[in-house]
């Protein structure tokens, strides 16, 4: 396994940073152009899936231990819900972004960025979990 697929291994190594960077671009450019948490999360997860396909599931699990990923997955969802609750505590409706900052425009900006971040984290972690639990099924 070590010396096989030389081209694939080198290409993956070269591509990985760009895939992850592109995911981050889609994530944070989402409020100015096409993009957002779902898409970014899937791209980010796909980077890991590619890594796992080429280097093997064990190597991928070293980078992303399933237990940690599961915790990250729930934290992403809690971030989303937390933003909603925060708006509630500040006197607005649930998920009301206007009250998050002094200026409603800033509030909307902050709110959507945080919520999309939560979505992105959850989707990426879920994608990785789904892949790893299918791929790792027969080893144990």
């Amino acid at each position: 396994m070590v010396q096989r697929h030389f081209i694939l291994r080198v290409t993956t190594k070269l591509l990985m940073p760009f895939i992850l960077l592109f995911a981050l671009y889609v994530q944070f450019h989402g409020d100015f152009g096409p993009g957002g948490g779902f898409q970014a999360g899937v791209i980010f997860g796909a980077g890991f899936v590619l890594y796992a396909l080429i280097y093997g599931v064990e190597a991928a699990e070293k980078v992303a231990p399933p237990g940690v990923i599961r915790v990250i997955m729930t934290l992403g969802l809690l971030l989303f819900v937390g933003v909603g609750y925060f708006g509630l505590f500040l006197g607005g409706a649930f998920l009301d972004y206007n009250v998050l900052a002094h200026d409603p425009v800033h509030g909307q900006h902050l709110g959507i960025t945080l919520v999309e971040l939560g979505v992105g984290i959850t989707v990426a972690a879920t994608m990785i979990t789904i892949f790893l639990s299918f791929a790792g099924r027969n080893r144990t």
Binding site: V71, G84, A93
Partner: protein
């Protein structure tokens, strides 16, 4: 300040607790959190119902976006009633689930189980509370996906195939609902239910709207397992863990009936389906067949869980009879039965869960002699069975009474006879269990140490069984609210 946000909290408290349960991992901690959350949800739904009864419908703008652009949570008498049923069953099921589930699942899966259960609760409450058609689909899928997971956790390997079958049928049903919602959006440009209800009469029965109506109806009837779209239900209920069966049997199909009512009365308006399409001429025969055929099939089951599952399909038939009559009495009867059946079937499945915990199976022959060895459990089962049959002074009698009354009002003697016939069939299948438990001696090779079920399971069982007796005597809550909801739907829709 909090009072104004109750509609949002109703949904987001269970939603936020679900991932926390996954983080807690320890079964008991997750259980304690779920219990707390379900009690809060019950309290909120009770407050919401009293507010609605006192001050009329409540509207909540999610994210501060005004309807019809934003998602609106809109609570009127009908869905406050459904919210209360779902939250109450949730609050009774979770204390019950602790022992029952600890026996059926490995420790490592307990956190996941409570996560799925809370998500299912969130989804069902969400379906009931939302005033946005697409949001309804999203919540419906949250509840359905988590119920597939819950069913697949059953011990028997047939639970897996049952869950898969349910997944395929449920997804087709949900996709039909999305198609219907999409067509409605094409025709009207809005997704808010109240807004849809205001615009559709103006458009009249054009082809897009009729097709949308057809898709929505088929999708919803698939989800509520109306005969002949019920094939996913018996296996799913028979092989799921006991607590899950009790929870789903008491809530999932009820919420689906709510969806149908919402589509029929709020979105399309009473006139649309009654006068333009004469839908009751299709639904009443189907519902009558469901009552008679499925009650008969129930008689021949040897697995008591499957027997009760078939009986559930028959009871859904009763509800659909009431709903399709399209009169205040009929709708009231349908909704009263919706409430009563949730209580009765929840209680019966819980009693059965106690038996499964102690005996290990629920084949009718294995119940032999249980009347003496598990007297409290079997007594609960008998009381629930009497209520299911519709003996006077039980909740089942009240719903049958109103149903027959509604049928007689319309001079529909065939339907009235079918309702009574269904009750007679129920006598037979309940009697088979009673006969086995009380009149047959325990088998020779039966394990000796079969004792009474633990209190943590008996108390929730008796709460529901007791409620099914209580609501047969004191009917102001179920009949009163159901009548208010029926009048609201027929009078104030649009």
């Amino acid at each position: 300040m909090i009072a104004a946000h109750l509609p949002a909290l109703q949904i987001v408290i269970p939603l936020a607790a679900a991932p926390l349960c996954l983080l807690l991992r320890k079964g008991d901690l997750a259980w304690a959190l779920s219990l707390l959350v379900s009690l809060i949800a019950l309290a909120i739904s009770a407050v919401l119902l009293s507010q609605v009864l006192a001050h009329g419908p409540i509207s909540y703008e999610l994210g501060g976006w005004a309807p019809p652009w934003g998602i609106e949570y809109r609570i009127d008498v009908l869905n406050a009633f459904v919210l209360l049923i779902v939250a109450a069953i949730g609050a009774v099921t979770i204390p019950y689930a602790r022992r029952s589930i600890a026996d059926e699942l490995p420790e490592s899966q307990l956190g996941g189980f409570y996560t799925a259960l809370l998500l299912c609760l969130t989804g069902l409450l969400g379906v009931a509370i939302t005033g946005d058609a697409f949001n309804l689909f999203v919540f419906l899928e949250i509840s359905s996906l988590s119920s597939y997971v819950l069913i697949a956790m059953g011990r028997d390997r047939r639970a897996l195939t049952a869950a898969f079958q349910y997944l395929v049928m449920g997804t087709i049903g949900a996709t039909f609902i999305v198609i219907g919602i999409g067509l409605l959006y094409m025709a009207t440009g809005t997704l808010n239910m109240a807004d849809l209800g205001a615009r559709i009469p103006a458009l009249g029965a054009n082809r897009t709207i009729i097709v949308a109506f057809a898709f929505l109806t088929v999708g919803a009837t698939l989800k509520l397992a109306l005969f002949p779209l019920h094939f996913w239900l018996p296996n799913a209920y028979a092989y799921a863990p006991s607590a899950v069966t009790a929870f789903l049997a008491a809530t999932a199909t009820k919420v689906s009936i709510y969806i149908l009512l919402r589509f029929f009365y709020t979105i399309f308006g009473p006139a649309f389906q009654a006068e333009d399409l004469t839908l009751h001429s299709l639904f009443i025969p189907l519902a009558v067949i469901a009552v008679l055929v499925c009650s008969t099939v129930a008689i021949f089951q040897i697995n008591v869980k499957r027997m009760l599952a078939y009986s559930s399909i028959a009871q859904i038939g009763y509800m659909m009879i009431g709903v399709s009559f399209d009169t205040v009495t009929g709708l009231t009867a349908g909704m009263v039965h919706l409430f009563n059946h949730a209580v009765i079937k929840g209680g019966l499945f819980m009693a059965l869960g106690c038996i499964v915990l102690r005996v290990g199976t629920c084949q009718i022959d294995d119940l032999a002699g249980l009347g003496r060895r598990m007297p409290l459990t079997m007594f609960a089962f008998v009381l629930g069975g009497l209520s299911l049959i519709g003996v006077p002074l039980t909740a089942g009698f009240i719903s049958k009474w109103y149903l027959v009354q509604a049928a007689i009002e319309l001079d529909d003697w065939v339907v009235a006879a079918a309702i009574l016939g269904g009750s007679l069939l129920a006598v037979i299948y309940v009697w088979r269990v009673v006969e086995s438990a009380y009149l047959r001696p325990a088998p020779e090779n039966a394990p000796d140490e079969v004792s009474e079920a633990p209190w943590s399971m008996l108390v929730p069982t008796y709460i529901l069984i007791g409620a099914s007796i209580y609501f047969g005597v004191e009917t102001s809550l179920n009949v009163g609210v159901a009548r208010a909801a029926a009048q609201f739907l027929l009078g104030g829709a649009g």
